[in-house]
Subunit: 223 residues, 2 copies
Amino acid sequence: MDYKIVELKQSILDDNTKDAEKLREMLRQEKTFLLNLMSSPGAGKTTVLCRTIENLKDEMKIGVMEADIDSDVDAATITAAGARAVQLHTGGMCHLDADMTRQGLHALGSKDLDLVVLENVGNLVCPAEFDTGSVKNAMVLSVPEGDDKPVKYPLMFTVCDVVLVNKCDTLPVFGDFSKDAVVSRVRQLNPKAKIFFISAKTGEGMEEWYDYLRSEAAAWTGE
Amino acid sequence: MDYKIVELKQSILDDNTKDAEKLREMLRQEKTFLLNLMSSPGAGKTTVLCRTIENLKDEMKIGVMEADIDSDVDAATITAAGARAVQLHTGGMCHLDADMTRQGLHALGSKDLDLVVLENVGNLVCPAEFDTGSVKNAMVLSVPEGDDKPVKYPLMFTVCDVVLVNKCDTLPVFGDFSKDAVVSRVRQLNPKAKIFFISAKTGEGMEEWYDYLRSEAAAWTGE
């Protein structure tokens, strides 16, 4: 097994927002760009991540923290894709906060990494409520879930800097999914959000996403 | 607008399990069968429900409580399908407990209803942790989410009496989804769970589900 498993402890800090700021400050000094990646169960976070690692691993040192209630399915997949990984077990908790993220970074060893991705618990509700200390928040919305998700889970779409609309290769099968509807519903909540239409399976639209990561990571580390 | 909107209050009761038993006792006296329907966002709960209502509304009086963080999308759809509906706003809360369910039943007026469905918040984590007072728990797992969900969200699959594997019409598109893998993973957690492979869109496999509801409702009401 090429990855650690970390049983997360519940945070005892009262002020998560303040703690998240502290964590970001540490990451800036370390020159590590932390991305918090969220989605519903099964939207394709891990597939997006594997393809991203394969395409960027020659340019950046990448680490991944796989948060999951209990299983280790994803850390094994990520390790095979070529990134350093830790599996975080939340022990039933439905979200991560800054202190839990710090426990993960510590286990991962983030100092020498350029990009760390926190793959959050698959959930459109709770993870959106906690600042993890990440530099940017991204979410994956998959076509089969439907174009009404921004209306039903507004906070998630409000806190995300990027929305990756995944499984676009299945658009012909899910004929009632409207790209325009997604764009206008996201824009209404979050005018500045970047929206990329992708298929992590076919690679469609992924170049724009890689460019986004490259430029945001460079801006953060000042390089 | 043909449905009420209820802003749920957080429960003040300590012992939800005891409260859920009390609620079930009330439902037994009322001869009302309460089904708690859970899933990830976008798995197709509302579509399953609409088709179920259309097929059973001549045999049973049906009511639906649509729990949602904020929106009213689903209550309008359900009302159009021909059931009495209330929209429950959880105000950001990621689950429902027995007292919140009671608030919903009160607003719906459940006394004259044979079947009430609580469409829970789209989330595979938190709703599984709370007994809502329902007679049976069912969940919808959609094919595009993947066959590994029982491994990643074990509690949900443990507490459910029924797993409806939905969007089976898209199996040719999601070629890596294995029905056998789902069955064996669910069975490992929950040997007694009923598993139905359905497509709420095409109607495939739905008759078995209707038969299950008919017989469970009859057993509950003693009719």
